[in-house]
Amino acid sequence: MTIKEIQEDIIDEFSMFDDWMQRYEYMIELGKSLPLIEEQYKTDDNLIKGCQSKVWVHAELDGDKLVFTADSDAIITKGIIAILVRAFSNQKPQDIIDADVDFIDEIGLKEHLSPTRANGLVSMIKQLKLYAVAYQTQLK
């Protein structure tokens, strides 16, 4: 599936929720459901310091595709990370570079991507793109 298709799927899923409570409960479930990163990658090198919650991101190539794993110490942040990883992981670096994150607005989570929110998510998206640029160069 392309990034766009995955994002449309996510928008469809979220459209079933009537209110913020259900959206947040779903994100919290996502956040709780799986370990998103191997412990060995939860290093300071992979740490993005938000003022409020911490985010770890690890990237590695699998063939011509870039695979992301990530984690956070706050569960709502982790839920959003799960959504971002689902949308961007296992894709070609150039597609990741070209993709936008407008779907986050459409699923009602825009406030979490505000640069002033200090939860590390804005920096995380920047980091995903930077990894994509770096690995794109490597693939060439």
Partner: protein, 408 residues
Amino acid sequence: MIETTLDIQAIRKDFPILQREVNGQPLVYLDNAATSQTPQQVIDTIVDYYQGYNANIHRGVHTLSQEATDAYEVAREKIQKHFNIAHSHEVIFTSGTTQSINLVATGFTSFLKKGDEILVSAMEHHSNIVPWQMLCERTGAVLKVIPMNLEGELVMEEYHNLLSDKTKLVFCNHVSNALGTINPIAEIIQAAHKVGAAVLIDGAQAAAHVKPDLQALDVDFYTVSAHKMCGPTGVGMLYGKEEWLKKLPPYQGGGEMIAEVTFEKTTYADLPHKFEAGTPNICGGIAFGAALDYMNSIGFGAIAQYEDELMQYATEQLLAIDGLKIYGTAAHKTSVISFNIEGVHPYDIGTIVDKLGIAVRTGHHCAQPIMDFYKIPGTVRASFSFYNTKEEVDKLVEGVKRARNMLL
């Protein structure tokens, strides 16, 4: 049962912002330690200034300039009277506590030498740590920390042990922003003076709850931000004893702070203007005075008593929640409750209760050393003001319970 002589519902009508909704819910504003809300009386003062007599001060002969200068200087006298300061020229208008502290820290550069010691408490806001670290870097002085115990109280025995003839400065907040602890500043000041050290007390968190008598305290410097006590942002005061303010060099150069200027030499203006370079926050200063009038019309005794009752009630209710722990349980504290729920990140609780219209602070509250001390990433902090109600405390407790159920 919360008893008070105050008419809280009437007081709430003075604050237009309390009528608004957040996320479709009535606003419950419990972030008063970060900034307090502004009553209509202060808002009117701001509007009157810009509508009626906006002009630059201290230099115009025209009527507007005279009116603005008079109002600004009347505000200075209100501050003087409120804090029981000996002379109005010991009141320096600043942009707030942070600038007040930096003014003193910069000024002390020429007074310190290598090996001198500066004592700072373990529960300081970053704004009362970093300027002193920078001062130490400039001078070779050494920063030493007065430790605190698990309740969030300073270990006074250790403080007395740290004091010596090497101690030149002592810095401590009157009230901790993260924990609410009221520090024993009278004892701190007296003991520091015995070894000849100067004392700066950061009153940012205290001034909204208590009315300190600065002459009785015999403190050398005291700092306040207006926006924590119903005034506007961007204005505050530095109190300094006359002898210190005369000794300290000017902080910034510019207009307003000079007596005579030639290209060869400039002589500086007398106090307080020596430290007030440039056009000040005129409207802010006047509104600061109006904020003091407002709070005094309610009465600091009644405010402190009511806020204490609110805090006691909130403490009991919150502690009934499974796994909830309060950080900062000092015997003397203001209406600040810092807490966490076991297994839950404070950011998550803050996010959920915001959805319910409740404004609390989450994070390290610009006091990372305190969070390191407790080995936690941060806390949720609810801070109460005299315009909050018991019903709002109940909403907070319900919100935290709901967040807990969702998150665990």
